[in-house]
């Protein structure tokens, strides 16, 4: 085998089980790829020793015939996950030097299944951003370029490092997290697959919290089958997360039959936006035809409160963030500001947080503080929670009417240039198609489905019924096979 980095998780698993290669070889190949990919700034903490040891252990397990699907599979881990003894900074200056004394449940499960950690991946600070430009590590860079234009593009955010790493073949899969679109938007921008499961499917324990009622972790992989395999290893009940669902985890891969005959796919009219690029409209229409040709029934639906999802999100997420990020006080972990003579504890808090948090995080913490403050709590926070209930009701209504999955564009554009300098609200609009899914707690998946005129990947999103990730993955698998997306970025790094 010549280029191991081009394999999929499924392909590598099968090859290792047959004895065609070892995890040590595979891991070595990826460590070399990562070494040569500094220009992408995807991996921000490298863990080659851990990787080599895990690979060795995985090889022993595979040889013994006791190997789960993820055994020996080299992964990148988003910096938001606490990994024992390895820097876990959430791409923030305030967690500089923080090395957790514990392992997140998701990484524990992956490592117990034999997966190999290559290192930690770049992201927006505390997962707040849509372009990976708020990171304390600097921008991650999209491996894709717009035609002959050499300008660096964003890999999206917040899981920008995860997306860049998977797209550039620096790992077989990566963990991501998604609070408003942070798995699906970067997946769409880099031509890979990413699924945000139902809220409660994956434990949040040990994942640095942004907005606890919206955060969910999920896999980012080269194709739908790999997402199914990796998601299964990440899911499951965890007593350490009180919102974790005590439900059996199905064999998602076995549900990929490619048969969606009789399934009803909803097309929400509210997702047609003014000024939407013609290429995205066409992609959406093509996706509809592909699912129809595969035997699904296409039905127009309405989700009337869609327009209010982003404004509701930008109350609820900052409110929860302001509460969650109160723990960064310079006392228990991370950065503490240098104090002047006479400074008391309040000055310590204020200086530490001003130095440690970047501008977008400060902005959101303060907006959250404002909407929760006395006199505004009802007008902003409670109203947003009521609108959230209505958004969820919209989805419940269409599911009760027999809709199995909903097809929408994943993003309102292809990847844009780094440094485009949007104002905060323009940046927030990136999540216009994805954020409803978090507010309603539903599973959503982004699948690459085509390229634009400049050759940049475009993704479609499928939204499923709660807890029915298996069916959702099967629809996505059908769409993937019909779209036949095989383009890869030309290697320039």
């Amino acid at each position: 085998m010549t280029d191991l980095s081009k394999l999929t998780i499924a392909g590598a698993r099968d090859a290792m089980r047959k004895g065609d290669m070892s995890s040590a070889e595979l891991t070595g190949a990826f460590l070399k790829e990562i070494e040569g990919a500094g220009a992408l700034n995807a991996f921000v903490h490298h863990t080659p020793e851990i990787a080599q040891n895990q690979a060795k252990a995985a090889d022993a397990r595979i040889k013994a015939g006791d190997a789960p699907a993820m055994c020996g599979i080299p992964l990148g881990i988003k910096d938001l996950f606490c990994t024992k003894g390895v820097p876990s900074q959430a791409a923030s200056g305030i967690l500089e030097g923080f090395k957790p004394e514990y392992e997140s449940t998701v990484t524990t499960q992956l490592f117990d299944a034999g997966a190999v950690m290559l290192g930690k991946l770049n992201m927006d600070e505390f997962a707040m951003g849509s372009s990976n430009e708020t990171s304390a590590y600097g921008n991650a860079v999209n491996p894709w370029k717009a035609g002959n234009d050499g300008a660096d593009l964003t890999p999206g955010g917040s899981s920008g490092g995860s997306a860049a790493a998977v797209s550039a073949d620096l790992c077989l899969g990566a963990t991501g997290t998604d609070t408003g679109g942070s798995i699906r938007q970067p997946a769409a921008f880099t031509g890979i697959t990413g699924i945000k499961p139902t809220y409660g499917r994956v434990s949040r324990w040990g994942v640095v919290a942004f907005a606890s009622s919206l955060d969910q972790a999920g896999p980012m992989t080269k194709d739908v089958r790999d997402s199914a395999i990796m998601l299964e290893a990440m899911c499951g009940h965890d007593p350490k997360d009180s919102t974790s669902a005590d439900l059996a985890v199905p064999n998602f891969e076995a549900m990929l039959t490619g048969d969606i005959k009789g399934k009803v796919i909803g097309i929400p009219k509210e997702y047609t936006m003014d000024g939407m690029p013609a290429e995205i409209e066409k992609l959406w229409a093509d996706g509809k035809d592909m699912l129809k040709d595969a035997g699904a029934e296409i039905r127009d639906i309405t989700l009337p409160h869609t327009k209010y999802a982003l404004p509701a999100y930008y109350v609820i997420a900052p409110a929860e963030a302001s509460s969650n990020l109160a723990r960064y006080d310079g006392v228990r972990f991370g950065h503490r500001a240098k104090l002047d003579a006479g400074d008391g504890i309040t000055e310590m808090y204020e200086k530490t947080r001003a130095e440690g948090f970047g501008p977008e995080v400060q902005r959101r913490v303060m907006v959250g503080t404002y909407v929760l403050s006395a006199g505004f709590y009802d007008a902003y926070y409670n109203r947003a929670r009521k609108v959230r209930a209505l958004i969820k009701q919209d989805f419940e209504t269409v599911f009760a009417d027999g809709i199995d999955a909903i097809l929408t564009p994943a993003t309102p554009s292809a990847a844009f240039e780094l440094g485009a300098n949007f104002d905060p609200i323009q940046m927030y609009l990136n999540d216009v198609f994805t954020v409803t899914v978090n507010l309603a707690g539903l599973p959503g998946i982004a699948v690459p489905a085509g390229v634009d005129a400049k050759g940049l990947p475009l993704g479609l999103q499928l939204i499923g019924r709660p807890w029915e990730e298996g069916d959702l993955l099967n629809v996505a698998y059908t769409l993937e096979r019909a779209a036949g997306f095989v383009a890869k970025p030309d290697k320039w790094w």
Binding site: R332, Y370, A384
Partner: protein
């Protein structure tokens, strides 16, 4: 709603984030833009709607009320910027 610099100063104080005086006007105008965007929510009729508390209907699990964890002082203090004699150390809080 338009946010003035005094309100911006008060919010920064509540959030325990030091903002220099000369940065307050720009911050106030950013807040105003974001709150203007949020105010679209006023168009929605929310009469009789209960605010969402949990996105997936579930009852919290119960367990025996017993100690299940603890005795990890060294680990708890391992990442502290300043820890002394088994405690977190901070600037003087009371005179």
């Amino acid at each position: 709603m338009s946010i003035d610099t005094e309100t911006a100063r008060r919010v920064a104080k509540l959030a325990r984030i030091k903002v220099e005086d000369d940065a307050l006007p720009a911050l106030a105008s950013e807040f105003s833009a974001i709150l203007g965007f949020i105010e679209q929510l006023n168009e929605v009729d929310v009469d009789g709607v209960e605010p969402m508390t949990s996105v997936t209907p579930q009852r919290l699990k119960r367990r025996e009320d017993v100690v299940t964890d603890g005795d990890q002082q060294v680990k708890v203090l391992a990442n502290a910027p300043d820890a002394r004699e088994g405690f977190f150390a901070v600037p003087k809080v009371v005179e």
